[in-house]
Symmetry: C2
Subunit: 173 residues, 2 copies
């Protein structure tokens, strides 16, 4: 376990995802065990769009410890809005939960959105029990549930929309 110990002691860094992160992103997506096969394919599709098309609207961030991927986030500007951004996925490797990858990725997305004069981060998630830890995480990150669309994903599985307002208008809520 020498290698793992070394990895744990190294500092965590968040950077723009690189082509070589692709397979590790897929592995983490599988390990979190909440995504369907179709959702896993979608993550790869968006990652390839991100790599190939500079204005694809999708951006990926990788959290790494000693060059090993420990989490990733996918976000982008919401078309036809001024200053609204969407956080599509944020995943920390389950074997490294509670080591801060999720928080570091969320903060990096928030910083990137602010740097583009973003006002609002939107997160769409599911009411399914498997997403409860994610929902609690969004709440810890300062997001609040703004909407619920019943039976959106499938009968009994609702869409929940979380929001985080970044601009001073946050105070007027």
């Amino acid at each position: 376990m020498q290698e793992k110990t070394n990895v744990s002691n190294s500092p965590m860094a968040v950077e723009e995802s690189r082509p070589e992160d692709r397979s590790a992103i897929g592995e983490i997506a599988r390990r979190v065990k909440v995504f369907t096969a179709e959702e896993e394919r979608t993550i790869f599709e968006l990652f390839d769009e991100y790599l190939q098309t500079p204005d694809s609207g999708y951006a990926f961030l990788s959290a790494k410890v000693a060059q090993q991927l420990v989490g990733f986030a996918c976000w982008g500007s919401t078309p036809l809005t001024e200053g609204t951004y969407e956080l599509y996925w944020i995943c920390a490797d389950p074997v490294r939960h509670r080591q801060g990858a999720g928080r570091m990725l969320f903060q990096a997305v928030e910083t990137a959105v602010r740097s583009q004069s973003g006002r609002l981060i939107i997160i769409e998630t599911s009411s399914a029990e498997a997403y409860l830890p994610a929902i609690r995480f969004y709440q810890r990150m300062g997001c609040r549930q703004a909407a619920r669309i019943r039976d959106f994903y499938s009968p009994g599985e609702h869409l929940l929309i979380f929001v985080k307002y970044l601009s001073p208008s946050q105070k007027s809520q």
Copy 2:
């Protein structure tokens, strides 16, 4: 005005949009005067995707009277859902308002969604005053507002989400 009179007396029909409808779709989108230039470009982009890529996820319907376009609708299945469909745009030529093109298009979308075992139609629209007639139209079509995301489009312009449940689970609302 002979031609126009003939047109008015002809029955209205809704059919899958054809390549030759492209410019008339653009003209109607401009005449309704609610779309930004970016939104108009998006309508063309989706129309071209619809024509070129059979599994693009976008479908267009044209309402015609005597072969003249009097309205159009764009709809499609919502990715990563089972049975949820989105009505992206529905536009009737303003010079023909109150002649039933909107209702006929909405009913055609609903029929198409039902034929694909769709359960739920989602419509995202803006709280801007220009969309009030559209909102009243959705309500007349049996849709109800299920969510409101403040400042989504821009500061002061909110996202409203309308829903129409098509399955028997509608009764449990």
